[in-house]
Symmetry: C2
Subunit: 342 residues, 2 copies
């Protein structure tokens, strides 16, 4: 009381405004049945005293907290990826706008084993949860299939478990990329994959691409730039007749370009390269990268908005697929004179 300067409470405001606790609470919550006069009076004294309502008390009375958790996978350097950054940025902005706070969680072993992902709800710590970067190995997702707790997969989805999601149209994106390559006259193409066994959306890209062009060779590039370099070298060495390489993400595509350049192959003159994601580097690499653009920030925003609708029971389930489009730049050679038919 003496040292730790006591914070004002609703009671102080009531006294100093000469109204009851209820009235203060009512104006705090913007209830319109309070007269403008007393409303203003109360606001004035709140301002004068610098009053801030105690969120824990409100949460307790409200039975909800207005905070949601965003959980990221346990990836070393996971944050090092624009991918997560953009999505989280979108989530944060939308959450802030809607008055929600964002709790950060990492899906480490302990988080899963202790069922912390459920306890957060049960302890009334969060109202909902967003999970970025899900893959087949995240079995705990099954616990959300009953739709009992607001939960949503961000830019991924599950075939095994019926849970909510917002995902971009990977299949259509891959289809566009393949069609583009085909139109450019490429028949012999190498495919650099990654996460094909764990990640549903990777599988989707692969499947969809295959429907348009059957790759001569599919090599795993581990989703990294280094992996892309290795894979590219392996592909052109194994089959020198290949005229184009498609990589499942930009990091690998960029690695491929780098490696091919080192090997003396010109991109796109000798080989076309197309990526997926459209990370910032894609536009300022040399040559700039033709790639499928993912609206990551938008995905984050949408996911957050839908989750909050789930929380407010405005919707019961969400299965949303966002549009996605090919961005043609230099690395595919579309802008050079039309290639000879094979």
């Amino acid at each position: 009381m003496s040292e730790a300067k006591r914070r004002y409470t609703i009671k102080d405001i009531a006294e100093q405004s000469a109204v009851s606790l209820s009235t203060v609470s009512l104006v705090l919550n913007g209830n319109t049945r309070i007269s403008a006069a007393t409303r203003d009076r109360v606001h004035a004294t709140m301002k004068r005293l610098g009053y801030q309502p105690n969120r824990m008390a409100r949460a307790l009375a409200w039975k909800h907290t207005r905070t949601l958790a965003v959980v990221m996978p346990q990836l070393r350097h996971a944050f090092a990826d624009v991918y997560f950054g953009e999505i989280i940025s979108g989530i944060y902005d939308k959450a802030s706008k809607l008055g929600f706070k964002v709790l950060l969680e990492i899906a480490r072993a302990e988080f899963i084993e202790s069922r912390e992902y459920i306890r957060l709800y049960d302890q009334k710590y969060i109202d909902g949860m967003l999970f970025i970067g899900a893959n087949n190995k995240h079995k705990f997702i099954a616990d959300f299939a009953d739709k009992t707790r607001p939960f949503l997969l961000v830019n991924s989805y599950s075939k095994q478990h019926d849970v909510n999601y917002v995902v971009s149209n990977y299949k259509y994106g891959a289809w566009q990329a393949a069609q583009h390559l085909l139109r450019l006259g490429h028949q012999r193409v190498g495919f650099i994959g990654g996460g094909l066994n764990e990640i549903q959306t990777s599988q989707d890209i692969c499947e969809s691409f295959n429907e348009v062009i059957q790759p001569r060779l599919t090599v795993d590039g581990w989703l990294t730039e280094e992996g892309g370099m290795k894979a590219a070298a392996e592909i052109v060495t194994a089959d020198p007749s290949i005229t184009a390489i498609f990589a499942l993400n930009d990091k690998m595509a960029l690695g491929a370009i780098r490696k091919l350049t080192e090997m003396g192959r010109r991109v796109p003159a000798d080989l076309a390269v197309v990526g997926f994601d459209d990370i910032p580097q894609a536009s300022y690499s040399i040559p700039s990268l033709t790639t499928v653009h993912q609206p990551l920030y938008e995905i984050g925003k949408q996911s957050c908005e839908r989750l909050i609708e789930l929380i407010h029971k405005k919707v019961e389930r969400v299965q949303e697929v966002l549009p996605i489009y090919l961005t043609v730049r230099e690395s595919c050679g579309a802008k050079r004179p039309a290639p000879q038919a094979a």
Copy 2:
């Protein structure tokens, strides 16, 4: 009650264990004055009912929340940097271990202007705050100079405002790098800077380096790889006699290596390059990068631990400087035959 399956409360546990509310609360908090027998009985029924204490209620009674905010600067693609990822990882792990939750905030204009950074405390939402990536422009830091609220700068510090911090020894790191170059016989070196006007630690590196070697040329590389490329080109063009380049961070150093290689200069045979930070790419670039290693994960852990001490009033202020060391790899040429004296 019927549809929304009611969660159990302390009252249910008390009834089903045939004890009072106080007793349940006491065992919940591990109070030792409860007999082992009743303790076990209570535990059993908690387990049987899957009871989880309501965190908001506890926070309200406790008057603290066991959650801390980590705020990141408003950088486009901020998360795209391992820098932040590693630090946050360290913070998260330590926080979890100590029973704290992590709230994520981004220092956008609105966050500052609405004084949300203060409201979070006043609303009793958080117990403390960690700020990563502070620079001179973050004037709001001044509001923490009175040490009234637990607050700590992570891997940065301020000369203008007296606030708590945990920072790595940038000066000593830069000193080591310069000494190393000097020992290798380099007298004519180019310096690639970044944030020299805004970031205190950048200034420190610059100053400290200058005390050992006076660079022939200092060029701003904007802390990015592209900037590093430009800067490197500018340096070697302006002064062809330069034998080494030091960059304030690895991204720029890596960009420099790339550019120099493109220009036909061999690193380290023709020019030595040294960076700062030791990001993952530093070890697998070609040539691998000699750089000053920053223990980012450790810094995150320490920061979090110190903040929690601040919260518990075990310490009153923290000004901690963590050791840092040069990691010698290929790009400095230390491993080639000793260079001729200039």
